[in-house]
């Protein structure tokens, strides 16, 4: 078990594409850490650089107080689950799980024993002599996990471990993975492009964009207080309302309406400056009648989210979304009013949280 | 040798780079009383090509020779290196071996290769290589001048002749009878051949006359086709160092082809087939060919009732033979009435041999009377180079006696020079053209043009 530390990590591909731009990151021992971002943001490159599959152009990778920047992947004492699991198609499940031990020259009997033990723990005991081709996606994923567990490495690296599963299985696997990580207590870094997955599983997470880390924090921090408009727009199953506005005395003018300054921004704004006002649809109180500090407009779209509805209001040609609980949803064309929660609304200046 | 030198440096580097793979070097040595190893090669192999020849060397020559040497107090072992491929491939292999300073101590070559091998320095005059013993060999007196000539180049003897052969016209007596032709047929002119052909044709013989033509049969077209005809018309392919171009004899020879294949007396398609000659043998054996121009090999190796490739159980009764007539009596080469062509193998000592004297002993041993008699017994009779031997062994062989006594005195040999094979191909092409419908004069003119390219300009062609 070990902490992972990145110092000024830079990766430039031949041809000049900067995949990682001087990243610093500390992941303490035992943490379940998520790397989140849209495709092409550098999160997989970062993971592979930690694994040693990519060479760092600059900076250092330190695992368990040991600088491994120049160390071959096999010498870093990490284990990795690949997006396609990379189970060797010509080996059965036992051999696949035991493969890392074979490399470590563990005797045949001992490694079979270990493989069976780990396999049993993951509920694979009846599948041990099958080939990967004969397994379902979920089973393959568990074999890949078992193989990683068998290594007893200091850190686990998961590259999109759930993306090859179908939606229902993914939820199950999510819970399973989190539980497993808790039990094993091994430092784990996983890459995902699904913010819900990151929020659900990670102890902490980093949101990346274009080779930079845009925010590091717990899921709650990242969800409630996105550090910038990029993170704000990326996190959340319904994207945050990000509305252009301006400071008008002690209120804000947003989409032609007057709203109160959020608590977090109180005393930090100057009159007349342009800002972006951010509030999640979940943090809006919808009502049919007008009130002080609401955003008022006509209902344009109503989308069913199951237990609630997402209502899109046309507020002076600006679209504003609010989540409305079951049973009180309006009809398209109604007048509607949405009151942001002052304690949850945020103000961004030049894209950064005020 | 510029080519060779260039290579050596690179080769040395490669060898030094670790590719020098273990393989035993050639045995060396040769001091007094030391064991001597000799090798002898022929394009013959047990269980295949010339099996009898291979058996003779392996089972008779080698033990006898080794024993004879032992009696003289010498420890000599001989190894036979068999081969069973096309002559061209055998020749290629020999050339490469000789060029690289390798090869068997005693080797057989075709008589026609003597010139080119000598020019390339692959073989050396025997007197240079062996010393005076070569010229004083007692066998020379038994070999006719003409046969000795095969082994000579620029007036020097490079080898010993192993044997010779001759070409005749074979005919099927059964078919002849059907066509009302005599069983002791002997044409005296080309016209008589054509007349016989016409009669055979009207008697329903599918292929009245088969005289090899075209390139597919290769050298067989030259030896059993255009060259005897050329000789019959009074020409030679090379005379006094000058090549024969589009001369009248050539036009006449090609004219005969035109009469045969243009007049429906032969099968033009057969001449083009890759295996046409084999087929002509088979057809003759099947009684479909009336007259066939072939060498004595045909009698010995093809229609031989015992082990021929196209056996004819009744060969001795059915197959007749006659000398090849000149175009008209007296019109043949050297004013002869009858003509033929001969070839034959040579046996010589490899200049690279470490024991040339012993090799020469082995060579002469294989051509001693007792060896030749042993070799030719049990139905393997052929015309040997020695008249003393021939007298004995040919007694019961009417055809070979016929060849030895009637044909060899009038025969001719091919010029033993390096470009001959290309000239030969050009001749074959000329016959192919005529069989294909080109006029003989035109084909002869085309031949001359090609010849100029081959032999280095019109200056080397007799006008």
């Amino acid at each position: 078990m070990a902490a992972i530390e990145l110092r000024g990590l830079t990766k430039v591909y031949p041809g000049g594409v900067k995949a990682l731009d001087s990243l610093d990151l500390d992941i303490p021992d035992g943490e379940f850490f998520a790397l989140l971002g849209p495709s092409g943001c550098g999160k997989t490159t970062l993971l592979r650089t930690i694994a040693g599959l990519e060479t760092a152009t600059g900076g250092a990778v330190v695992i368990g107080e040991r600088d491994v920047t120049g160390v071959q992947p096999g010498g870093r004492d990490v284990a990795m689950v690949f997006q396609d699991y990379a189970l060797f198609p010509h080996m059965d499940v036992t051999d696949n799980i035991a493969y890392p031990l074979r490399i470590k020259k563990v005797a045949k009997g001992a490694r079979r024993e270990k493989a069976e033990e780990v396999g049993a723990r993951l509920g694979l005991d009846h599948l041990m002599d099958r080939r990967p081709g004969q397994l379902s996606g979920g089973q393959q994923q568990r074999v890949a996990l078992a193989r990683v567990m068998a290594t007893q490495a200091q850190a686990f690296l998961f590259d999109e471990p759930l993306s090859n599963l179908d939606a229902r299985l993914r939820l199950e696997a999510r819970t399973f993975l989190k539980k497993l990580q808790r039990e094993l207590g091994v430092t784990t870094v996983f890459v995902t492009h699904d913010q819900a997955e990151a929020l659900a599983m990670a102890d902490r997470m980093a949101v990346m964009e274009a080779g930079h880390i845009r925010q590091i924090g717990t899921p709650v921090e990242v969800f409630q207080r996105p550090a910038n408009t990029f993170v704000a727009g990326f996190i959340g199953s319904t994207p945050m309302n990000l509305l252009d506005g301006a400071v008008r005395g002690d209120t804000l003018e947003v989409a032609g309406c007057k709203v109160a300054v959020p608590i977090a921004a109180e005393g930090r704004l100057t009159d007349g400056e342009k800002i972006v006002y951010g509030v999640r649809p979940e943090y809006m109180a919808y009502s049919a009648g007008p009130a002080e500090g609401v955003l008022s407009g006509k209902v344009a779209i109503v989308e069913n989210l199951g237990a609630s509805h997402l209502v899109t209001l046309d507020v002076n040609d600006v679209l504003v979304q609010a989540v409305v609980p079951e049973g009180s949803e309006p009809a398209v064309g109604d007048d509607g009013h949405a009151l942001p929660r002052r304690d949850r609304a945020l103000v961004y200046r030049d894209g950064e949280l005020v | 040798m510029a080519v060779r030198k260039r290579s050596l440096g690179v080769v040395a580097v490669l060898a030094a780079a670790g590719l020098g793979l273990a393989a035993c070097g050639q045995s060396s040595g040769g001091g007094e009383g030391e064991a001597i190893e000799l090798t002898i090669t022929q394009n013959a192999i047990k269980g295949g090509k010339n099996a009898a020849g291979a058996t003779f060397i392996e089972d008779w020559v080698i033990p006898k020779f080794e024993a004879a040497q032992k009696a003289k107090g010498k420890d000599v072992t001989v190894k036979f290196v068999p081969s069973g491929v096309d002559d061209e491939q055998y020749k290629t292999k020999l050339s490469l071996d000789l060029k690289s300073g390798k090869g068997a101590d005693v080797m057989d070559i075709d008589g026609i290769w003597a010139g080119e091998f000598a020019e390339a320095g692959y073989i050396k005059p025997l007197s240079e290589l062996i010393g005076p013993e070569a010229d004083s060999w007692d066998g020379w007196s038994q070999i006719p001048e003409a046969v000795q000539g095969m082994a000579e180049f620029n007036g020097k003897k490079y080898a010993l002749p192993v044997g010779t052969d001759g070409r005749v016209l074979y005919f099927n007596k059964t078919l002849f009878q059907k066509a009302g032709l005599p069983a002791d047929w002997q044409p005296k002119s080309w016209q008589e051949i054509l007349d016989a052909g016409t009669k055979l044709k009207s008697a329903g013989v599918p292929v009245p006359i088969q005289i090899n033509a075209g390139t597919a049969m290769g050298e067989a077209t030259s030896m059993q086709g255009v060259l005897p005809l050329l000789a019959g018309a009074g020409g030679e392919v090379q005379q006094d160092g000058k090549w024969t171009g589009a001369s009248q004899p050539l036009k006449d020879a090609l004219g005969l082809y035109q009469k045969i294949y243009g007049g429906g007396l032969g099968d033009p398609k057969l001449q083009q087939e890759a295996k046409g000659r084999d087929k002509s043998f088979q057809q003759f054996a099947d009684g479909k060919v009336g007259i066939l121009m072939e060498g004595d090999y045909f009698w010995r190796g093809v229609v031989n009732p015992k082990d021929g490739v196209a056996k004819m159980a009744d060969r001795d009764q059915v197959v007749g033979y006659a000398m090849i007539p000149a175009m008209e009596p007296g019109k043949g080469v050297r004013g002869q009435d009858f003509v033929s062509m001969s070839g034959g193998a040579l046996r010589t000592v490899n200049p690279n041999s470490e024991h040339p004297k012993e090799a020469f002993e082995l060579l002469t041993f294989t051509l001693s009377p007792e060896a030749l008699k042993e070799e030719t017994k049990d139905g393997n009779v052929r015309v040997t180079p020695r008249t003393d031997v021939n007298k004995e062994i040919l007694a019961g062989e009417p055809l070979l006696t016929f060849i030895s006594e009637k044909v060899l005195p009038v025969t001719a040999y091919r010029p033993p020079v390096a470009v001959y094979p290309q000239v030969s191909v050009a001749l074959q092409e000329a016959t192919a053209a005529v069989v294909g419908g080109t006029a003989p004069d035109q084909a002869a003119a085309d031949y001359q043009k090609k010849l100029e390219g081959i032999v280095g300009g019109a200056g080397n062609i007799a006008s």
Binding site: A3, E5, D24, L25, D26, P28, E54, T55, V62, E65, R66, D67, T69, G70, V71, Q72, P73, G74, I216 | M1, A2, V3, R6, S7, V10, L14, A17, L19, E88, Q89, K91, T92, S95, L96, W113, G115, E116, F117, E119, A120, G121, Y122, G214, T215, A216, K269, Q272, E273, A274, K275, V417, A418, V419, P421, Q422, V425, E429, A432, A433, G436
Partner: protein, 310 residues
């Protein structure tokens, strides 16, 4: 935001590990990759490149297997090349080779190979194994044997083909020598294309075919719009290899010996006749050089095609 930790004790790695470090999938690195390639390259250098360059050099001499020119070959420069260029036999051979390659490789093997692969693409069981087995059999049997089989098949009198067609005496090898060797080589070489296309078709995603079928595409349209774009690379690689092989294929000699009268004397046979039968190695080497140049043009042509619409 980032947690502050005390700076770790950084173990300074030496420069060598960093240089030897590699980022390819298997961690080979240039050095080890070089070691992997070296044995093959060494053999190729010794037994391929070096003799091939030697051949190119021989082409500039009047070297012969026997005769005076064997003992003292002279440098003649481009004389051999010029001889070839002004030699109608050479041009005849070149033209026949073009027919041979187009007919037997580009059309015969590719079309037949693809057809078989397409027909059998989603089949399994004995029929597929039988057809594939027979096609592969024709490919792996020794050429000395198969050429003899075809001589027997096409024989004028006793040949099976004439017996089947009821035209005894029809001389296939004489009247249609090129057709004969083209069909023969198609028969012999189809296996390679069949296997390659079989594999390529396996890689065409079924969903693409299905969506084309849903859109109402006919069989031909499916091939044109879905299959061919997908296996383009395979087709061109295959074409390149079989064109080169066919170009240098010597087996027609075993069937027709180049005849009748040179009507099936493709370049490889021409070189054999010139070099081995006439012993004109200098000229033969020069013709080999020309063959190399033609092959180069063919290869560049395919590579252009391969890159053009990628």
């Amino acid at each position: 935001m980032a947690q502050a930790t005390s700076p770790p004790e950084v173990v300074k790695e030496d420069a060598r590990t960093r240089r030897g470090y590699s980022s390819d999938a298997a961690g080979l690195g240039s050095l080890r990759a070089g070691a992997f390639v070296a044995p093959a390259l060494l053999l190729i250098a010794a037994f391929l490149v070096f003799p091939a360059l030697w051949v190119l050099y021989l082409g500039l001499t009047n070297y012969r297997l026997t005769g005076a020119a064997a003992a003292e070959p002279e440098f003649v420069g481009l004389a051999n090349l010029l001889d070839a260029v002004f030699n109608p036999t050479f041009w005849n051979s070149t033209w026949l080779t073009v027919q041979f390659v187009l007919g037997s490789a580009v059309i015969g093997q590719v079309v037949l190979g693809f057809t078989i692969a397409w027909l059998l693409r989603d089949r399994a069981g004995p029929l597929k194994r039988l057809v594939e087995g027979l096609v592969i059999l024709a490919w792996i049997l020794p050429s000395a044997v198969v050429s003899f089989l075809w001589v027997a098949l096409l024989d004028r009198d006793g040949g099976t083909l004439n017996a089947l067609l009821g035209i005894p005496g029809f001389p296939w090898l004489l009247d249609h020598p090129m057709l004969s060797i083209i069909v023969f080589n198609t028969w012999r070489g189809t296996a390679f294309s069949m296997m390659l296309y079989g594999a390529a078709l396996g890689n065409v995603p079924p969903s693409h075919l299905e969506s084309a079928r849903l859109a109402g595409a006919s069989g031909w349209q499916q091939l044109r719009d879905v299959v061919f774009p997908h296996i383009r690379g395979h087709i061109l690689t295959n074409l390149l290899l079989i064109s080169l092989w066919t170009f240098n294929d010597f087996s027609p000699f075993l069937l027709t010996a180049g005849g009748p009268d040179g009507r099936s004397e493709v370049l490889a046979v021409h070189v054999y006749k010139v070099a081995l039968q006439s012993g004109e190695l200098g000229y033969g080497a020069a013709v080999s050089t020309i063959i190399l140049l033609i092959n180069l043009v063919v290869a560049v042509f395919y590579l252009r095609l391969l890159r053009s619409k990628k």
